[in-house]
């Protein structure tokens, strides 16, 4: 099938033969297939054998469109490319909706292990890997078992079980296969079970009915975002520990204020779009 994609808010690049007469072309949003969008003009594009379609209405790159034309048998399906979608989900969950700074999840572990840069890095790496694994297993279980059997009310128990088993299994396997690595990262494995991000990811995926790629993006993005937050925080805390902080603010209160400042600066990421 010939390719077509949204290139800007009013333009679609179409590969293949397209009649030059704009009135014989029918462009619709897939979810509003009965309402044609007005096509202003069709012009040959710079690329060979392609056309540039200009529309009156604003187009959205995340949306699905369908393009048909008189005399052309195959309709064009316009959908966001899978790679772009995954990247946008990852960036969305790591930066724009960072789990720590805008959703306030995993704060216990976040404040607990962000006092030292090395611990922060170790925790960040361990969490990203285990979070990705558990996110994908939970997604598969939810999509292929809980949803079809209408057992949605068992979600919480099922997800908790998966996470606990996975953490235990990783711990055992790591201990046998690579004791040195286990010595370095084993302690973080135990802490992971108390991190609510690891439970929030499958819950969010289940609520939104995510596809495989979206679930993958969210799980990876959550892990990366948590690791990033942890690393930034540990850098700041190491400095603050040497500063004269008022007595009643020492320890957690000042850590909260720092986290607030980070959260403010993360607001700057909102509105970030993947081209």
């Amino acid at each position: 099938m010939a390719d077509a994609k949204v290139v800007s808010t009013h333009e679609i690049l179409v590969e293949g033969a397209l009649p030059a007469d704009a009135t014989t072309i029918r462009l619709v949003r897939s979810s509003d297939a009965d309402i044609p969008l007005a096509v202003v003009s069709v012009k040959p594009a710079a690329q060979p054998n392609s056309f540039m379609l200009t529309t009156a209405e604003t187009l959205n790159k995340q949306d699905h469109y369908q393009l048909t034309a008189q005399g052309v048998d195959q309709p064009w399906e316009i959908a966001p490319s899978p790679l772009a979608m995954v990247v946008s989900v990852i960036i969305g969950s790591a930066l724009i909706n960072n789990f720590v700074f805008t959703r306030y999840l995993g704060l216990c572990v976040f404040f607990g292990v962000s006092r030292n840069k090395d611990t922060a890095i170790g925790m960040g790496i361990t969490f990203t890997i285990v979070g990705l694994l558990s996110g994908m297993i939970a997604w598969a279980l939810n999509t292929y078992a809980l949803e079809p059997l209408k057992l949605g009310f068992m979600q919480i128990i099922a997800f908790i079980g998966i996470i606990a088993c996975l953490v235990q299994a990783t711990d055992l396997i790591l201990k046998k296969v690579n004791p040195i690595l286990h010595k370095k990262f084993g302690i973080y494995l135990v802490l992971i079970t108390t991190n609510c991000i690891i439970l929030a990811v499958p819950l969010l995926n289940a609520t939104s009915g995510a596809t495989f790629l979206q679930a993958f993006g969210l799980a990876l993005g959550a892990g990366v975002g948590f690791a990033l937050a942890l690393f930034l925080m540990s850098c700041a805390v190491e400095k603050v520990n040497m500063a004269p902080v008022p007595m009643v603010f020492k320890g957690l209160p000042v850590a909260f204020i720092i986290a607030g400042l980070f959260a403010l600066s993360f607001l700057g990421f909102s509105g970030l779009k993947v081209a």
Binding site: F101, T102, R103, Y104, L105, G106, L107, C108, F111, G112, F153, M154, Q155, I156, I157, I160, A164, T194, N195, C196, L199, A200, L203, L204, T207, M247, V248, F249, K250, G251, L252, P253, V254, A255, F256, I257, A259, G260, L261, A263, L264, F266, L267
Partner: protein
């Protein structure tokens, strides 16, 4: 576990959760919801009540089953008990309080990962019978509820100029506190306030300042 000691008096059990060992501001446990849902008193109140109910029920059921479970699987069974009560709470709230549930739904489900609940079961339910567990759970739950409502009231009043959605002030004194970042500032300030009160009362601050760091 150790032999049953007589439980402390009811008033001690209640007050401990409210102030000395306030789960949010002193123990710094289960902080996520304290920051996340406190943009309005209503949300804080709802989650607080949910936690209170789950805490009481989990503490009591943990105490009931402590003799019949194999100590090796104590933690999984406790987690499972909490998960049952949380799932039940989640369904009930979704059915009967759908408008607030929309805003706090995710955090209601995440109560299952709240360290405060399982730590109370480990520290208290294992050693005491059902009735003291009820009071201890009630105290801890109330401490959590009060913490959430306090933070919610502070943020809603300063950020939106209202309480329970009813406009009190004709203007918004400090929009910052309801913004996503404001939650961190609010909790940091209230924690510092708790410390300050403690210092005034002549107590010594625990090393490291606010609470035991979990």
């Amino acid at each position: 576990m150790s032999a049953n000691r007589p439980p402390p008096p009811v008033s001690t059990m209640l007050m401990r959760g409210l102030f000395e060992e306030n789960p949010i501001f002193r123990l710094a446990l289960s902080l996520c919801p304290a920051v996340a849902v406190t943009t309005a008193v209503k949300n804080g109140l709802m989650l607080g009540v949910a936690v209170l109910v789950v805490q009481v029920l989990s503490s009591m059921s943990g105490s009931l089953v402590k003799h019949i479970i194999n100590p090796k699987i104590r933690i999984p069974v406790f987690t499972l008990l909490i998960a049952i009560w949380v799932s039940a709470m989640d369904m009930i709230l979704a059915a009967y309080f759908s408008d607030i549930y929309q805003q706090v739904g995710l955090y209601v489900k995440l109560i299952v990962a709240f360290a405060i609940i399982i730590s109370r079961m480990e520290l208290f339910s294992m050693k005491h019978s059902v009735v003291p567990c009820f009071w201890d759970g009630l105290g801890m739950g109330l401490g959590f509820l009060v913490g959430l409502v306090l933070a919610g009231a502070f943020r809603e009043l300063l950020g939106s100029g209202s309480i329970f959605g009813i406009a009190i002030l004709p203007f918004k004194p400090l929009l910052l506190v309801v913004l996503p970042a404001g939650g961190f500032f609010t909790i940091g300030l209230i924690m510092a306030m708790f410390n300050w009160v403690d210092v005034k009362r002549g107590h010594k601050l625990p090393s490291g300042g606010g609470g035991a760091h979990g």
